[in-house]
Symmetry: D2
Subunit: 347 residues, 4 copies
């Protein structure tokens, strides 16, 4: 189905692939978020009683072990891809073939040529594709970006992103994650482009194993600082850690010709307690489910609005592709201990 032919305000009938944490989260937001859509099917190759029971309670009528039940269902016109990264490009292709709009979790993939092929298929078919860079929908980061766009701080000169998880994932997860740059910093690569308003031209990655020897044994690092150079001369820096004892640390900053805008972490409340031992306030919200709770809802609402109104989606396949390229360059930079040009990755 081509863009020009789609109807405005069509009924959205959704199939969700993957019933893990993020698949469930999107399902609940779609069902309870009063968006006027219908979640018809959820598919997962690891189907069990818990998922069936959860789906039933939520009112999702079809539970499937085979994703083909989604692609074969002509009524389903929209698919949420929330399965493991290695399946993303294949499922995107299948959606494109069957004319279904796509919301795909990040990262869109790890193999650049597969991603290229998938995006080509999407373009050809004319379906919509949005990628789950949820942080763009966060009230704080968006306020930073809006401030930059408004010109209030002038042309960006320095972009700074701090992004630290509260605790490392299980090492088994780390082993298949693609490494810190693909699994964790991928969000920050997207955020850096979003804030700088310019494309990355080169990357230098420094990393260390400070948090978990197991992560080191698995061939990954847990602490990293990446320097980015942008086309327009802006320079950026991202620091990641797999552990922040005080919770999820998510801060952004843009320094420009006329000033600087930055944002602190959200907390559960603003109470401040002053006693003989000091002044104490709340820690940052613990992890992404708490911190980006609202953003996940806004992200899905934004996607539904886009495909209903036939306007362009906010976060495109191109955005997803570029973040992967930067992750590839960062990985190479870390491995070879030298700055890597983006043009070395894509030529």
């Amino acid at each position: 189905m081509l863009t020009g032919e789609r109807e405005m305000d069509k009924d959205i009938i959704i199939g969700i692939i993957g019933a893990g944490r993020i698949g469930k989260l999107h399902a609940e937001n779609l069902v309870k978020g009063n968006m006027g859509v219908r979640v018809k099917t959820i598919a997962d190759i690891y189907m069990d009683e818990d998922i069936r029971s959860w789906a039933k309670d939520l009112g999702i009528p079809v539970v499937a072990c085979n994703v083909e039940e989604i692609f074969d269902d002509a009524e389903i016109n929209t698919v949420f891809i929330c399965s493991s990264t290695n399946t993303h490009t294949e499922f995107i292709m299948r959606c494109a073939q069957t004319g279904k709009d796509i919301f795909c979790e990040k990262p869109i993939g790890s193999d650049l040529s597969e991603i290229s092929s998938a995006l080509a298929a999407v373009n050809k078919s004319g379906v919509n594709l949005q990628v789950g860079f949820v942080r763009r929908f966060d009230h704080n980061h968006k306020a930073v970006r809006d401030c930059v766009k408004s010109g209030r701080v002038g042309r960006p000169e320095i972009v700074k992103i701090t992004s630290r998880d509260p605790e490392p994932p299980p090492v088994d997860y780390v082993k298949v994650s693609g490494g810190i740059f693909f699994d964790m910093m991928i969000h920050d690569f997207d955020m850096a482009r979003y804030l700088a308003g310019s494309e990355v031209v080169s990357v230098f990655a420094a990393g260390s194993v400070m948090v978990s020897e197991e992560i080191g044994k698995a061939g990954d690092i847990d602490t990293a600082i990446v320097t980015l150079k942008f086309e327009n001369g802006t320079i950026g820096v991202i620091d990641n850690s797999r552990r922040a004892a005080y919770g999820y640390d998510q801060r952004t900053e843009v320094h420009g010709a006329l000033g600087c805008v930055k944002t602190e972490n959200d907390t559960a409340n603003l109470a401040m307690v002053s006693t003989a031992s000091g002044v104490a306030s709340e820690k940052p919200l613990w992890f992404f489910l708490e911190r980006y709770n609202e953003a996940f809802l806004k992200e899905v609402r934004d996607f539904i609005d886009a495909i209903q109104g036939r306007r362009e989606v906010s976060v495109t396949g191109e955005d997803a592709f570029k973040a992967v390229i930067i992750a590839e360059a960062a990985t190479k930079s870390y491995q070879e201990n030298r700055p890597v040009m983006i043009s070395e990755i894509v030529c």
Copy 2:
């Protein structure tokens, strides 16, 4: 129906009286808040097409001009009273007579003997009654209260509440509002009791017309400071203004033997912009719908939980009564320019 006989986890079928701003807000939270309840009827003596259309969209099947349609409906077991203050006690009596649980907006009334009678009827019938002191459910004020209860700041010595509306209501509203102490500071009287953990014994009210001459002509004031003395020796102070150019100003503070806990206003985001002209951050959220958005949801959820689980409701008719008594004392104090004992009001 007496307490002892009610079933756990009964089906909650709700009738709402009053389709003004607050009635609609509760209706939407009940319908969209995934609470497992059914809103069957909404009644308003000023029924119009807008309300009918809104109710239809929300899926409320019955729209009535006559509240008796609610009281006469045996299926409805729970009533939200969101009509004008002067109708509250009568509707509470009718609910008690017909065995329906009650959520009543604040203030519960303005005539002390009518309130007494209504509460007596509630007690006799055994229905539940919760009053809409929504601020108790705010994350910030609750954190202050929890801190006090934990003993971390010691025995409360000073309680401070700042509560300022962004802009004055229409003067026609002011004329029937019962005055600033009944209409606006009533929330703070409840908050003061909630934070101090003690009962008020006397009140001194100072007031001024600073914001609107029209409010003054209507016989009311728009700026007020009230000092409270509590049974346990704690002293408290509330300041109210009908206008805060920067938005809704809602701060609380408790100073105790071991320290002090206080909370600032919520803002839409935490971005801070530093430029040559200074460091700028967001204003407080504009008004109660924004600031207490979450709290309104929590409040209703708390009420539904209470009546489903047959535990005591969180904010009782007694709480509502006491706030009205303090408002009465404050009004008298302002009029007679002298401190007024609570015992002068209730004897």
Copy 3:
């Protein structure tokens, strides 16, 4: 010596009366503050070796037990009165008689007619008199005042002052202090006038003994909230406590027609530590010597500038008189549990 006859930039030769904490502080600021003045004599009826040794180290040539050595010394043209409150008016009279400029610590006295007489003598003689309301020279409170004066927050409507000492003074001190309103809140009465830019017309004082039973037995209170009404309709509130476990709590706030300006407490540094147990920052500076350290220096420098340049001093005897009147009214209000008009005190 009359104002008209004094020379510009005369040599300032200073005598200090009282070698207690505050007398020593002023002496050190005068000597080490590079003000181009000479401290010739310090007098104290309780002279001891420690004071002599301290004075010698500081380079003060004359140490006296008898204050008349100061009044009799024609070379001394400026006197700092830092002795106990009950001696202030007498020493002011003596300075006026001997033509010496005066810096007098707060409060200027406790007996209204004595103060009147002293001020009359000052006016007649034409000497300068500045009173030690040091908080006017604090960077934070001054910024609040400057903001109000600039019109940025519009006409003041509510003035709020929080002033809490870290710990109560010895009860022997309390007994001769004149009570919390004369000894402690006197500073806040001056601050309230300074911030409101209007004169107080009535006062209501509520108080409690929460901190120290001994203070209660001594006939004083340790916790107080005072409501002030100003000529221009502004209302104000001051809260005092003799104990703040977290240090000296000194905050001011002015709410006006166009907005609100307020200030927080200073801390020793801005480090914030986030750990699993929360986010911790520094307590307020411990007490007035730390918090108003700079202000004490600025205050003295301001006085020296004034008397050298023959401009009017910043904080006048009239200011001191008015603060005492308010303290008198507050004391009466607390004792009689009713609002007291300033006109009842001075007629």
Copy 4:
């Protein structure tokens, strides 16, 4: 004079070389700071009437065009080297030869072998040498360091330093400055070592000309981000800009195994103004004279204490040498666009 032979609490007689901004600042702190020292001579090859007049007012008896007047003066036992960087090592050698203790401004030099020779001479002669890394004496940065040392945030994993000047220096200054890494970031290299408690092993520098084309034409950059790797695995990042429209931006942060400590900028006051247009607070203090005002005094006091008490000075020649090596590595890294090992610089 060798260390072992020096007397405790000797009289400190000081000669200052260089009467520019920083030389004058130290002179004033030494004279007015009540340190019990005597500034005898100030020498500058560009002597003029302004300096003579300033020195006279300050009470410095000898003003010289020739620095030899300082080295030849046997009474002078302590020298402050505040002349241009290219003279530092030579003057250090002369001090060592003449047995005078040395306070030398940063950087200690730019030629590594000259610095080595100078330090060798210092070691041989036994004179004290302290280098002017003033930021170590700042209350905020010191609080960060103290927190790290206390173990409260655990082993350091990430060190972050933001250091931005309010406005670029004249391009003539830039031309002889040695470049941003020697002139500006040298402070941050020292701070990074101070905070990390470990030695730098490699450096990667990214830079850009964003602020001033003239600086670019002069062969320098004005915006830079440098990544540091430390011996213990810690990674660090410094961002510098020659322009921050809002003032001097000086922030530090250490993230460790148990938490994170960071500090914000100092401001002139803590007033916050809330109006319809937002919440406004003060900008950071404008530049180093304001921000490090107290630190300059503490630094000199610390040096005087050290040389009087014969304890080791706080910031050694070795510290200065290491900062220069890092600056050398950063310069090389920027020029060759590759990470540079410290061992490439010193072998």
